[in-house]
Amino acid sequence: MRTAFRSVTGLATALVVLAGSWTPASAQAPIKIGASLSLTGTYAALGQNQHRGYQLCAKHVNEKGGVLGRKIEFVLYDDQSQPATGVRLYEKLITQDKVDLVMGPYSSAITEAVANVNEKYKMPMVAPMASTTSIFKKGRKFIFMVQSAAEVYLEGLVEMAAKRGLKTIAIINEDTLFPKATVQGTIELAKKNGLQVVFVEAYPKGNPDFSAILTKIRAANPDVLGAATYFDDAVAITRQMKELNVNPKMYGVTVGGDLPTFYQLLGKNAEFVYGATQWEVELPYPGAKEFLQAYTMEFPGRDLSYHSAGGYGGCQVLVEAIKRAGSLDGEKIREAVLKLDINTVYGGFKVDEGGFQISHKMVTFQWQEGKKVIVWPDELAAGKALFPTPPWTRR
């Protein structure tokens, strides 16, 4: 019975394949793009945002007639925010669901885990939500980075400082993988821009008291203070800088400073603080306005973050690569991605030979009157930086 069933399905498949080659393009089966996303678990909120980006992209591409004359269709699973589950799902997508291509999951951790799977099957994967450099420095050939790396989070702060003739910088960081990479990158950038690094120190995760470290910074008296943070620490450091009267001419944080809660918690004390972000709603990238409108129409009341735009932009990259390759062959698409130099709703996209992103720009903003005003890079800036930051006693 089972054999009979198999041969019937086999025959049917063969028929579909044969039929496919005769029917007009629009009637062909859709191109299947596989991905697992964190729809539940720790990263659920962010994974869902990315999911909506993928969905909206597919909708828009199909409205315009698809690519290679075929519609695209996402085959999506929930990896529950677990790298191991992600690995299993990508195996399933490629070997059982026989998807044509894959897109990346959410987070560096899960991307790092599943990157070995698509690599094994030589299937290209555009990975929009992984910014840990090491993933792209392991000689893998089929994974492509979309957003900026940890190393350049403070590039804007450093460059703006150098332009204003500042000379010295102090850098502090939470002692974990991502902020550490930021510090390494910032030291390089400071050297390149002629800033002298006068103080570097890490603090443990969850540290609530920065008195001693800030006392040392006050003594080092740097022109600029850069902090590679997550969120709690960004808030605590800012607060305690006021308590200890630490007054650099510029002070910037990395992750966490961009959240509305940052300002809600700190109120006026968040004024003048610089922050870094991968993407903001008002950035004038091509199609960004339309993306925003369509997103709010399609998902009314749902959260929109850079994860949504990154998902959409990453999908745009893949579709463009398919178009240019004119084929679904992994090697050909890889070649096409490596040659791309385009702008998506998420910003610039161009990768080096290893798939490492070299075009996407982090933007630097400054909190001004309760709003994030983009102040760097110049071509994207919406306003001027308020410089220098006045001492706490004169605010």
């Binding site: 002692d175 690094v197 006068v198 103080f199 570097v200 120190e201 890490a202 603090y203 443990p204 969850g206 540290n207 609530p208 008291d209 920065f210 008195s211 001693a212 470290i213 006392t215 040392k216 003594a219 080092a220 969120f231 709690d232 808030v235 605590a236 607060r239 305690q240 006021k242 308590e243 200890l244 009267n245 809660t261 918690l265 700190l266 109120g267 004390n269 706490w392 006693t393």
Partner: protein
């Protein structure tokens, strides 16, 4: 890459250390009370501190009244919660092996943290009341920390006076010295356990209300304070109440000075190395064991 350390910097961190230390002392005194009277290590002590901090947050958020006045609410509330926990659960493990009390209070702590998460979400909150500092020469004295320090010292002194001078206080000390003798002398030991747990919880709540104006508030904030309090009572000698006071100050200073001379990364390690050394060399605590 570091900086040259000047006397002014040392002065600054010594002040920070003492300001933090007074809070540690007060909170640890609560833990010492419970351990002294019941031989129970209360892992939920920091959790009660967290609830005290939330009380202050909501007080300030909803009523907009001076957050320091919330002590008048948080302390009695947590006294009642503490008494309730003691009467309903903890009293069952008073004479059980230590592991039972650890497990029970650990369970209570997890339950309370999760209920808080459910009720208030894990969003970080803060009470922005007094920020900034008084500048005295090269020193910056944080306003909120100074006021919290003053309250902590006041409350701790009051607690000591209470233990030394009042009848109930004497009964508590008697019970912690020897339960049997206290019982023979007519002390209602069950009642003393109840009061001690309530008082200890009130001290934790006061700690919570006072740190609420200094650091960010979230459901898991209490854990660090449980650990620190534990460190303090080991340094000071378990069950030794003045020892807890000195231990708290010592911990505050050690943390700050090691962050200054070494790095913030190792300051925690330094505190725990000190703990191990004390356990090895002077198991009864730096300031002598409990008086017998």
């Amino acid at each position: 890459m570091g900086v040259i350390i000047t006397p002014a910097m040392v002065g600054q961190v010594v002040i920070s250390g003492l300001l933090a230390g007074a809070l540690y002392s007060m909170v640890a005194l609560g833990l010492a009370l419970i351990f002294g009277v019941m031989r129970v290590i209360n892992v939920a002590h920091g959790t009660i501190l967290m609830l005290g901090a939330y009380t202050t947050f909501w007080w300030f958020q909803l009523l907009g009244i001076n957050p320091y006045l919330s002590l008048l609410v948080s302390m009695p509330l947590m006294f009642l919660l503490g008494a309730f926990l003691q009467r309903s659960m903890v009293h069952r493990v008073v004479d059980a092996p230590e592991l039972s009390s650890l497990l029970l209070t650990f369970g209570i702590s997890i339950a309370l943290v999760n209920v808080t998460q459910y009720a208030f979400s894990s969003d970080v909150r803060s009470v922005e009341f007094l920020t900034g500092s008084f500048l005295v020469g090269p020193l910056a004295l944080s306003k909120s920390r100074l006021i919290s320090f003053a309250f902590a010292v006041g409350l701790t002194l009051f607690a000591f006076w209470f233990l030394q001078k009042t009848k109930l206080g004497k009964a508590i000390r008697a019970t912690s010295q020897s339960r049997e003798v206290a019982m023979v002398c007519g002390v209602n030991v069950q009642r003393i356990h109840l009061y001690a747990f309530g008082m200890a919880s009130a001290l934790a709540a006061a700690g919570g209300s006072l740190v609420a104006v200094i650091v960010a508030i979230q459901p898991e904030m209490g854990q660090v304070y449980t650990f620190k309090s534990f460190l303090v009572i080991v340094l000071g000698g378990a069950g030794n109440y003045p020892g807890a006071l000195l231990g708290g100050m010592l911990l505050g200073l050690v943390e700050q000075l090691s962050s200054l001379f070494l790095t913030t990364q190792v300051s925690e390690a330094v505190a725990y190395v000190l703990l191990v050394l004390v356990l090895l060399l002077r198991p009864t605590g730096l300031f002598g064991g409990r008086s017998t």
